[in-house]
Assembly symmetry: D3
Homo-oligomer: 171 residues x 6
Amino acid sequence: MNPKTPSQSLAILTDIVLPSETNPIGNMFGGELLARMDRAASISARRHSMRIVATVSVNHVDFNKMIPLGSVVTIEAKVSRAFKSSMEIYLDVWIEDRESGVRSKSNEAIYTFVAVDETGRPVSVPELVPETKLEKLRFEGALRRKQLSLVLAGKMKPGEASELKALFIED
Amino acid sequence: MNPKTPSQSLAILTDIVLPSETNPIGNMFGGELLARMDRAASISARRHSMRIVATVSVNHVDFNKMIPLGSVVTIEAKVSRAFKSSMEIYLDVWIEDRESGVRSKSNEAIYTFVAVDETGRPVSVPELVPETKLEKLRFEGALRRKQLSLVLAGKMKPGEASELKALFIED
Amino acid sequence: MNPKTPSQSLAILTDIVLPSETNPIGNMFGGELLARMDRAASISARRHSMRIVATVSVNHVDFNKMIPLGSVVTIEAKVSRAFKSSMEIYLDVWIEDRESGVRSKSNEAIYTFVAVDETGRPVSVPELVPETKLEKLRFEGALRRKQLSLVLAGKMKPGEASELKALFIED
Amino acid sequence: MNPKTPSQSLAILTDIVLPSETNPIGNMFGGELLARMDRAASISARRHSMRIVATVSVNHVDFNKMIPLGSVVTIEAKVSRAFKSSMEIYLDVWIEDRESGVRSKSNEAIYTFVAVDETGRPVSVPELVPETKLEKLRFEGALRRKQLSLVLAGKMKPGEASELKALFIED
Amino acid sequence: MNPKTPSQSLAILTDIVLPSETNPIGNMFGGELLARMDRAASISARRHSMRIVATVSVNHVDFNKMIPLGSVVTIEAKVSRAFKSSMEIYLDVWIEDRESGVRSKSNEAIYTFVAVDETGRPVSVPELVPETKLEKLRFEGALRRKQLSLVLAGKMKPGEASELKALFIED
Amino acid sequence: MNPKTPSQSLAILTDIVLPSETNPIGNMFGGELLARMDRAASISARRHSMRIVATVSVNHVDFNKMIPLGSVVTIEAKVSRAFKSSMEIYLDVWIEDRESGVRSKSNEAIYTFVAVDETGRPVSVPELVPETKLEKLRFEGALRRKQLSLVLAGKMKPGEASELKALFIED
C-alpha cells in the first residue's frame, strides 16, 4: 500500500441549519452536529483506507460557539494519522457571515475510525504522510492522544506512555 | 457590485446514504436527493448574492442512475448565470466506488433562486463571468432555459423567445 | 392492457406543515415539498401501471407562493400521458385558508416515472385516455415536453423535435 | 353556524411507507401510523370547525394487519359527531394490492379534537348532520363513546351514562 | 413460566422536546408523543414476555396538558395485566418544572401488545402479579377494558361482558 | 445552594433502535447514539443545576460494541463532578438480551455542560457530593480530565496540571 497525504482523504460537507436541526433556544442542536461530523469523518476514513470503516471513538469535541438557525456550516475532515488499522480524523467546522462572506472557526473535533473487512476484522491501512505545517503538528499530537486514550481506557499504564510522560516531565 | 466567477459560489455537500434516506428497494430516495440539492443550491446562491435567497423553480433533474444504500454522494453546486435578481444554479452529483476511488456522474440538475431583502422584495445580484469552457457553455444555455421557462409558464410568447427559436430554425 | 383515464391514477396527499418541515424563515422547506410530490407522483404512476416504478426526472417545478408553517397542503397527482414504459405525472398543489375554507393553487409540477419489472427492466404501461379539457391540454403538452427533455439531454436533434419546432415556427 | 355534513370534513392522506418509517421487522412502525392519523384527523377537525384545533384524546385504535414496507397507505378522516366544542373524528385506513389494485381495510381509529380560539379557550363548532348509513351508525355510537370516555376518566358516574347503561341492560 | 411483578417490566424513557418534535403552536406534536409511548410500551411488553412483541391496540390516551418546547418528558410504562398472549401496558407521562424540579402528570395512556414467536404466532406470556395499591386497581380495571374492547370490536355481546355489565347495573 | 448527590441528577433514557436510526450495515448509527447521549446528558445537567444548560464538550466516547437493529438501549446519565458553573456528566450505555434479560455495557461517555442564565452568562451550580464507590472514583478522575481538557485546548501549561503530572511521575 502506497502512503497517502491528508488532502487525499479530505471530505467537505457544507450544509445549512434548518429548524428541524435546532435546540429549544434556536441554535444548531449539539447532537445534530455530532452526527454530521460522524458522517464526514467516516467518508474521510473510507477515502484513506478504501475499506469499510466504523467509528471507534470520539476523542474530543469542543462547542465554543453557538451556531444559529439558518447558518451555513462547513465541515472539513482529513485523516491526521494512520496507525495499523485505525485512523485519527481531525475535523474543522466553519460558519460564514452571510453579508461579508467571512468565515470563522466554530468547532474542532477528533474522531477515530477502524478499517475492517467484510467479516468485521480489522485490516491494514496505508501510512499517512503529512504535508503542511498544521498537518505535521496534528500528526505528532495524534500519538500522544492515542496513548492518552489507551491510558484512560486502562489498556496502557501511564508509565509506558512515553510521549505523554515526556510532555509532563519536560515541561 | 463587482462581477463574480462561478468558482466563488461553489458549494460542496459530500454525504453518505443511510437507511433512513432510502426507498423500498434500497436505493437513495429521490425526494431525499432533491432536498439535498435544494440545500446545496441555496448555499451557492447565497454565496454569490450575499443575500437571503429563495427557490424559484427546479428546472430539470435527471435520475439516470440508482444510488445504493451506503454510497458516498458528492453534490457540487455553482451559479451558472445571474440575471437581474435571479440566479441559475447548476448541480453535478457524483458517487464514488469505494475500492477503486473512481467517481462517476450520477445526476445533473438545474435550480433557480431569487435574492430578496428582509421584506421579501427581489434585489439585484452581481453579474456572473464564466471562466472554464464548461462554465461558458452552461452560461449560454441558461438564457435559452430562462426563455423556455417563461414560455412554459405562459409569460412569454414562443415567437419572442429569440434564443430558443433560433435553436429550432437554424438546425 | 386496457387504456386508463387520468382519474384512475389520482393520488391525493393532504398533510399539514410542522416546524420540522420549515426553512429558516418559517415557510415550508422547498426540499420537503419536492419530496412529498415525489411520493404522491410515485403512487399515481403505480396506480396507472400496477408495476414497480422509479423516478426518471423532475421536469419542472415552480415555487410561486410561500407556504407558511401550519398550512394544510393538498397535493393532487395524476398521470397526464403514458408513453411506452414511461409516464408523465402532473401535480397540482393547493393550500387552503383556515377561516374561509377557500383554497388556492400554490404550485404545479411535472415528474416523469418509468415502470419496471422485478429485475429493473422497463415494461409497457397502459395507454392514457384524457377526459376533461384540462387533461387533454396536458396530454398534448406532454409530447412537446418529452421532445424538449430529449433535446436538452442531447438524445434528440432539435430538427427532429417536430412538435416543438412547430411551436416556434408557427407562432 | 350552519350544520355540516361529514363529507365536508373529509381529509385524504395517501402516502407510501419508506424504510425510515418501519419497525425492526420491516413493517410500518406503529408510532408512525399513529402520527399520520393525528395529522389527518387534525385537518378534518379544522375543516369542520374552521378553527385552531388540538388533540383531546385517542379513543381507540386497532392494529389488525401488518403494513409492509413499500405499501401505499390511504387514511380517510371524517368528523363523525360534533359536540359543543369537541369533535369525534373517525378514521379508516386502507392498503392496496399493487398488482390487482384491490384495497383492503387495515385499521380503524377514533380521535377526539377540540376547537379553540387564539387564546386557547374552547369555542363552539357547527353541528354535524350524518348522511350515509355508516355515518349515521358512527354518529349514534359517538355518544356512547363520549359517555364511556367520561366514565373512564371518572368525570361521569356509570349510572348517569344513560346510553351506555341501556346497552348493557337491554341486551 | 414464573409470574412477574409490574416493576419487572418498568421502562423509563426520559427525553426533551426539540423544535423538530413540536406542532405549529410550539407544543409537543401529539403524534410524536404517541410514537414515543409506543416505543416505551413495546420495551415494557418485551421485558415482561422476553418475546418479540407487536402493538395490538391503543386503548385510550388523554391529552390534558400542553407540553411546551424544551420540556423534559418522562414516560413510565409498566405491564398492568397479562392475558393469555396479550399484555395491557399502562403509561404515565410526566413533565417537570425546571426551576422547582416539581413534576406533574401530563398524560395517561393504555396500549395493548401481543407476544409472538418468530413466525408471528401468539405465544403464552407469564402471569402478572400486581403489588402496589395502584397496580392492583389497574389490574382489575384491565378486565373491564378488555371486555369493552371486545364489545366495541363486535367480538363479544354486551350481555356476556359480565364485568362491564356489573358496573352499570350495580351502580 | 445545597450540595447534591449524583442520584439526584440521574436521567434514564430507554429506547429501541428503529431502521431509521441504523447505519448501512444494520447497526445503530454512531451519530444517533451521540445525539441521544447529548439529550440524556442535558437532562442530567438541568436536574443538577435547575438552570438552562448548554453542551461545552464531548470529552470521550468509546464505541466498543455494535448495537444491532431492534436493540433496547438504556442510557443512564449522572453528574460526576460540578465545578464553578460547569458539570461533567458520566454516561453508561447498556443493551439487553431479549431472551435472557441479561444486560451488558455497550458504551461509556463523558460530556461537559455549562449552566447559564437567560442572557447566556455562566452561573454557579450546586456542589456535587459523590456517594457510591464508583461515583467517588469518577469524581476524582474528573479533575484530571478537566486539566487534560485545558492542556489540550492550550489554556493550561502541562506543568501546572498538578493532578495529571502526578499520574505520570508517580507511576
